[in-house]
C-alpha cells in the first residue's frame, strides 16, 4: 500500500530535476512545428476578414495554377450530415455557408514551401455578402440583435429568449427573499470582463498525413491527442482507430489546446495531395483571431450581508458569449461563483450566448475568474462599506468540509479554512503601504476532474521501469508521475522513465485539462504500479514456494512476510526483472478508469498595487498566492502553477482584452497589442502551499493548475479600489479607464 503520511514519503514532496529538462534547455525537445518528413507540404489557411458574411463563391483557380501548389480544400471537401457538437467542430474548422467571425477559415491550400502556400492563399478569391454582426454579449441578447444561427439552442433554454441564447443555467437553494430580508445591507452591481486569450507562446502546429485508404498519421501539439483523434475523425467522417496521433512537446495550452482548429485541414489537404504529409503552423495573428479565447462576460451580482459580515443570501445572473457556437463557460462560472462561501440562500442564472467571435476554448478554470471578479469585488465593496476586514469576513463565511456547497452537493474534505489561516499569518499582510498604494484580497475555487485515464507500466530486464501515459506534459508532469511511480515501487526516481505515448499505445485518455493530470494520471500510475507489485510478489512467491499473500513489497524488493519472514533473502526488483523471462514472461502493470475522489482546491491571493494618479497606470508591488495543493508531489512545479496562474490573472485584470472595431474585426491580433505581462511588469510572486490532503488520492493530490487564475482579477480590482477609492467594475483596468474614473470621482 502507498504510504499516506508525509514523513513516510521518500520522494513525494522533494524537488528532483525533471526528466525532460535536458531536452528543453538544449533545444532538442521537439514541439509542434519542429517536425519534418520526406515529401513535406506546407499548408496555409484563408480566413474571413468579415465578422459575419455569406460565402458567395470561392475561386481557387489562380492559386492552383501556381507551380508547387498541390491541393486546395474548402467545406465542400468535408462530409455532410453532422449534428450537435461534431457539426460545431466541423463548422469551426471550415466555414460552410457563412463565415461567422473575423478569422473563420474558409479555404486551405497545400504547397511545396510555406512561403508559396502563403502566396497561394492570397490568390484564393472569396466573394462575400456581408451580413449584420454582433460581438457584445448584452447586444447579442437584445431583441434586435442579428440571429447568428436559428435553432442552435438546446433543451435547457426556456421559450421566449433571443435565438442567440443557446443554453440556460439555473440552480440554487434556500429562500432568497428571506435571506435578503435578514441582511443589514443588500447591494447589487453589474460587472464585466473582456475576452482573454490563453496566450501560449507556441502557435498551433501539426503535420497530418492521410492516404486514399483512410489511414492517417498526425503529429500535433495538443493537451490531449485522443481528443484530437476523436474530433478529427468525426469532422472528416473517419474511423477513430485509423488515425494515429502522436503528441509533440507542447508549448503551453492552458485549455486552449484541448480541441481542434486546423488539424483536420492538414489531413484533408494530405488526402487530396496524394497522401503527402502536410504541415500547418499558425501565425500569431491566426492564433489570436481564430483559436479559442475565453468568453466575455456581463454579470449581475446581489449580496445580502449583516453588519457583522455574515452573508445571508446571494444571487448571480451571468451572461457570457463564447463566440459563434455554444460553449461559453457560464455554467462553470456559476458553480464557482459562491463556492468559497457558506450561504443559506443562493440563486444562480446563466445565459450562454452566441456572438460573431471565435469559438471559445477552455482557459484555465473556465468561467471561474469572471465569477470571482464579480462576487469577490462585491464582497470587498460591502466589507469596505461596513468597515470590516475582508479576510475575516471570508473566514466567517467560509465553505466547510462535508457541508452543502454553493452548487448543490456536499463538499468532501476541503482546505479553505487552512488557506485563509495561512493567508492571515503571512508577513505580506503587515507590510505598510504608502500613498497611492492599496492592498486587495480575494479567494478563488476550481474543481478537479477525473476523466478517462489509461496508464501502463513495464518492468525492464534490469529492474528499471517504463511508464506510458497519455496526458501531455505541459508543466513538469513527467516528473510527478515518475515520482509517484518510484514512491509506490520504492525504487529510485532515476530508475523510472515516463513516456507520453501515441494513441495506438494506450486506452483512451482525456487531455491534460481540468487540473487532472497529477490527480488522475497520477492515481492511475499508482494503481498500475500496485498491479505490477502484485505480479512481482507472485514471481517471488513462486520461486520461494510460498503463497503470494505471504509476500510483502518494501524497499523496492519482495520480502517473505508473516510466518515466512526472514526465511528467504529479499528479491529485488532488479533480480525479478532479470529473471522474468524464465518466471512467466514480461511483467507489466496497467490501469484504466475514470478516477473518482477528485479534490477541489481553494486559493486566496493578496496583492499590493500602486496607482499613478496622473496616468492611471497600476504597478504590482507585491503578490502572494496561498493555495491548497492537497499534497505537492513536486513543490517547485506546484509553485510554478500558482505563479503562472496568478500572472495570467494579473494580465486579464490590467491589460489583456479582445478589442473589436465597428466592423467586428479584431483590432489587436499581435502580441504588441494583445498585452500579456512581460517580466518587467512584475515582482516576484510569493507562494504558500497549503496541504490538506485529498482522501481520494493515494498521495493526497488535489488539482492545482487552475484555481490560481481566478483570484487575481478581483484581488487587483480590490487593491486598485483601496489605492484610489475608485471601484472598477469592468475589466481590464486599463490606464485609460482608470484615469477617467479617477477624474470622474474627483469631479463628482
Amino acid at each position: 500500500m502507498a504510504k499516506d503520511t508525509a514523513n513516510e514519503l521518500r520522494i513525494v514532496g522533494t524537488r528532483p530535476d525533471r526528466p525532460d529538462g535536458l531536452d528543453k534547455v538544449t533545444g532538442r525537445a521537439r514541439y509542434g512545428a519542429d517536425i519534418s518528413a520526406a515529401g513535406l507540404l506546407h499548408g496555409a489557411v484563408v480566413r474571413s476578414p468579415h465578422a459575419h458574411a455569406r460565402i458567395v463563391k470561392i475561386d481557387a483557380s489562380k492559386a492552383l495554377a501556381l507551380s508547387g501548389v498541390k491541393a486546395v480544400v474548402t467545406r465542400a471537401d468535408f462530409p455532410t450530415g453532422l449534428t450537435g457538437e461534431a457539426w460545431d467542430l466541423q463548422e469551426n474548422t471550415m466555414a460552410g455557408e457563412r463565415a461567422l467571425y473575423d478569422g473563420h477559415a474558409v479555404a486551405a491550400v497545400a504547397a511545396t514551401s510555406a512561403q508559396l502556400a502563403r502566396d497561394a492563399a492570397k490568390l484564393i478569391e472569396v466573394e462575400y455578402e456581408i451580413l449584420p454582426h454582433v460581438t457584445d454579449v448584452d447586444a447579442a441578447m437584445a431583441p434586435d440583435a442579428p440571429i447568428i444561427r436559428e435553432g442552435a439552442a438546446d433543451h435547457s433554454v426556456p421559450e421566449g429568449l433571443h435565438p442567440n441564447v443557446v443554453r440556460y443555467i439555473e440552480f440554487g437553494h434556500g429562500d432568497l427573499e428571506a435571506g435578503f430580508a435578514q441582511a443589514d445591507i443588500v447591494r447589487e452591481h453589474q460587472y464585466k470582463t473582456e475576452a482573454a486569450h490563453q496566450g501560449y507562446i507556441e502557435p498551433h502546429a501539426c503535420m497530418g498525413q492521410m492516404g486514399a485508404d483512410g489511414k492517417g498519421e498526425m503529429w500535433v501539439c495538443t493537451q490531449g491527442h485522443w481528443f484530437i483523434r476523436k474530433m478529427c475523425t468525426q469532422v472528416l467522417g473517419l474511423d477513430a482507430s485509423q488515425l494515429r496521433v502522436t503528441p509533440s512537446e507542447i508549448g503551453g495550452g492552458f485549455g486552449g489546446k484541448t480541441t481542434i482548429f486546423m488539424e483536420p485541414l492538414s489531413l484533408a489537404l494530405s488526402r487530396k495531395a496524394g497522401g503527402r504529409p502536410v504541415k500547418i503552423v499558425m501565425s500569431r495573428s491566426e492564433v489570436l483571431r481564430a483559436t479559442g479565447p475565453t468568453a466575455s462576460a456581463s454579470m449581475d451580482v446581489k449580496i445580502g450581508m449583516t453588519k457583522d459580515g455574515k452573508i445571508t443570501a446571494g444571487s448571480a445572473t451571468f451572461r457570457m458569449q463564447g463566440g459563434a457556437f455554444a460553449g461559453a463557460p457560464v455554467d462553470m462560472a456559476l458553480y464557482c461563483a459562491f463556492a468559497a462561501y457558506k450561504v443559506p440562500a443562493l440563486q444562480h442564472v446563466g445565459y450562454d450566448v452566441l456572438a460573431n467571435r471565435p469559438k471559445a476554448a477552455a482557459y484555465r478554470a473556465p468561467g471561474s475568474p469572471m465569477a470571482a471578479f464579480a462576487v469577490e469585488s462585491l464582497v470587498d465593496e460591502m466589507c469596505t462599506e461596513l468597515g470590516l476586514d475582508p479576510l475575516e469576513v471570508r473566514v466567517k463565511n467560509a465553505a466547510q468540509s462535508h457541508e452543502t456547497s454553493s452548487f448543490g452537493p456536499k463538499f468532501g474534505v476541503i482546505g479553505l479554512n487552512e488557506t485563509l489561516a495561512a493567508t492571515q499569518a503571512h508577513p505580506n499582510l503587515s507590510v505598510p503601504l504608502g500613498p497611492n498604494q492599496g492592498r486587495g484580497i480575494a479567494s478563488g475555487f476550481w474543481f478537479n476532474h477525473g476523466g478517462d485515464t489509461s496508464v501502463s507500466m513495464a518492468l525492464g530486464e534490469d529492474g528499471t521501469v517504463t511508464v506510458s501515459i497519455g496526458t501531455p506534459d505541459i508543466g513538469g508532469s513527467r516528473a510527478s508521475m515518475a515520482m509517484m511511480a518510484a514512491e509506490t515501487l520504492q525504487i529510485p526516481y532515476d530508475n523510472v522513465r515516463v513516456n507520453i505515448v501515441e494513441t495506438g499505445a494506450l486506452g483512451v485518455n482525456e487531455p491534460t485539462h481540468g487540473s487532472r493530470a497529477t490527480f488522475a494520471t497520477g492515481k492511475a500510475t499508482v494503481e498500475a504500479a500496485q498491479s505490477m507489485i502484485v505480479e512481482m510478489c507472485k514471481r517471488a512467491a513462486a520461486k520461494w514456494g510460498i503463497e503470494p499473500e505471504a509476500v510483502e513489497w518494501r524497499d523496492g524488493a519482495a520480502h517473505p512476510a508473516g510466518p515466512n519472514a526472514g526465511e528467504y533473502p529479499p528479491m529485488t526488483i532488479g533480480e525479478i526483472g532479470a529473471a522474468m523471462s524464465n518466471t512467466g514472461g514480461p511483467i507489466a502493470g496497467h490501469h484504466e478508469s475514470v478516477p473518482a475522489g477528485v479534490g477541489e482546491s481553494f486559493g486566496t491571493h493578496v496583492v499590493d498595487v500602486e496607482v499613478d494618479p496622473e496616468t492611471g497606470r497600476t504597478t504590482i508591488l507585491r503578490y502572494l498566492v496561498v493555495q491548497d495543493a492537497g499534497r505537492a508531489i513536486h513543490p517547485a512545479y506546484v509553485e510554478g502553477q500558482y505563479q503562472g496562474g496568478a500572472v495570467q490573472g494579473i494580465g486579464w485584470a490590467l491589460n489583456e482584452e479582445y478589442v473589436y472595431d465597428d466592423m467586428g474585426r479584431l483590432q489587436n491580433p499581435v502580441f504588441l497589442d494583445y498585452r500579456v505581462p512581460v517580466a518587467s511588469d512584475l515582482p516576484m510572486i510569493d507562494t504558500v502551499i497549503v496541504e490538506v490532503p485529498n482522501p481520494g488520492h493515494p498521495y493526497g493530490v488535489r488539482g492545482v493548475g487552475e484555481t490560481g487564475i481566478a483570484p487575481p482579477l478581483p484581488a487587483v480590482a480590490n487593491a486598485v479600489a483601496a489605492a484610489t477609492g475608485v471601484r472598477m467594475r469592468h475589466l481590464p483596468i486599463t490606464p485609460s479607464k482608470l484615469l477617467s474614473a479617477i477624474k470622474a470621482s474627483k469631479n463628482g
Binding site: S285, E614, D673, R675, P677, P735
Partner: protein
C-alpha cells in the same frame, strides 16, 4: 523579391530610381520584416544599406555636432558613452523601440521612415533639431528631421531618395534632453503618447527649449507655445502647469485601440511636465 547590397548611397538611390515595383530599404528591418510576413507589403526590391561604408558609425564632428550612420542600431547608440552623455533623450527614445532583441537591429532611420506618429525616437530627434542628409537621383539635400514625416506611413522623400546620415547639433553647455512615453506595460508597447523636451539653461533659467509630442497627431508635432511657457522660468510648478495646459490644449489625438483621445490629451501634459523636469535636471548636471 530581389535583394540588393549596394556599396554606395548613389548606387542605392540608382537602384531605387530604376525600380518599377515596390521597394524597401533594409537597415534594421524590424518594421519591414513584420510587414512582409503579415502580407502588408511584398517588396519587389529590397535594398540592404548595411554594406555601405560608414553606415554603422557614430562620429562627433569638430564643432561638437554628431553624425549618426543610418544603420546604427539602438544597442550601438546606447553603448556610445559620449553620445549618451550629450543626448540621453534621443538614446532613451530609440531604446524604447521594442525589446533588447529589437534594439540589436532597430535604427533611427527606420523608426523615422516607417512614418509612425508614435515612433519613439522621432520626438527627441526633432526636439534636438536633428537634420537628415538625403541623397537621391537629383543629388543631395539636407532636411530637418521634423520635415521628413508627413503623415502616418508617409514621408517627404521622393522616389529614389533615401537618408544617408543624421546630424545632431552640438550639445553646448548647460543643455539637456529627455524623452518619456506612456505605455500600459513597462516595455514592449507602442507609445500611447510620447514627449521629448530639449532645453538649455542660463543659470537656473531655461534659455531655450523645444517640446515635441508623439502619437497625438498624424505626425510628431513641435509645440513652440509649450516651449515658450517654460523659457525664462526656473521650471517652477506654475510654469510646468502652464506648459501642461498648453500641451493638452494643443494636441489633436485620435481614439484607437491603444487609448482614447481624452486619455491622450490628459497624459500629454503630464508627460511634458515630467520630461521637462528630467531634461532640466540633466542640463543642470544634477542627474
Amino acid at each position: 523579391m530581389k535583394y540588393h547590397c549596394p556599396k554606395t548611397f548613389a548606387d542605392a538611390a540608382q537602384i531605387a530610381a530604376d525600380a518599377t515595383g515596390v521597394i524597401r530599404y533594409l537597415a534594421g528591418g524590424t518594421d519591414v520584416l513584420v510587414q512582409m510576413r503579415a502580407g502588408m507589403v511584398t517588396p519587389d526590391d529590397m535594398i540592404d544599406l548595411k554594406h555601405i561604408p560608414g553606415v554603422k558609425e557614430i562620429v562627433q564632428n569638430a564643432d561638437g555636432s554628431w553624425t549618426i550612420g543610418v544603420a546604427v542600431a539602438g544597442a550601438e547608440l546606447g553603448a556610445h558613452a559620449g553620445f549618451c552623455a550629450d543626448y540621453p533623450g534621443i538614446v532613451e527614445g530609440l531604446e524604447l523601440v521594442g525589446s533588447t532583441q529589437v534594439q540589436g537591429r532597430a535604427t533611427l532611420t527606420g523608426n523615422l521612415c516607417n512614418g509612425s506618429p508614435a515612433a519613439d525616437s522621432v520626438p527627441a530627434m526633432i526636439a534636438a533639431g536633428a537634420v537628415a542628409h538625403v541623397v537621391g537621383p537629383n543629388g543631395a539635400r539636407d532636411v530637418a528631421v521634423a520635415d521628413i514625416p508627413v503623415g502616418p506611413g508617409k514621408t517627404s522623400l521622393t522616389k529614389g531618395e533615401l537618408i544617408s546620415a543624421f546630424t545632431i547639433p552640438a550639445r553646448g553647455a548647460q543643455g539637456g534632453d529627455a524623452y518619456l512615453r506612456f505605455t500600459p506595460r513597462t516595455e514592449m508597447d507602442i507609445a500611447v503618447v510620447g514627449c521629448a523636451v530639449n532645453l538649455t539653461l542660463d543659470g537656473d533659467r531655461v534659455a531655450s527649449a523645444r517640446v515635441a509630442m508623439g502619437a497625438v497627431a498624424p505626425t510628431v508635432i513641435v509645440m513652440d507655445q509649450a516651449a515658450d511657457a517654460i523659457i525664462g522660468t526656473t521650471l517652477d510648478p506654475q510654469a510646468l502647469d502652464t506648459m501642461a495646459t498648453i500641451v493638452s490644449g494643443a494636441v489633436k489625438p485620435i481614439s484607437d485601440k491603444r487609448g482614447t483621445a481624452e486619455f491622450r490629451t490628459d497624459i500629454a501634459g503630464v508627460l511634458a511636465k515630467r520630461a521637462a523636469k528630467i531634461a532640466y535636471d540633466r542640463a543642470k548636471g544634477t542627474k
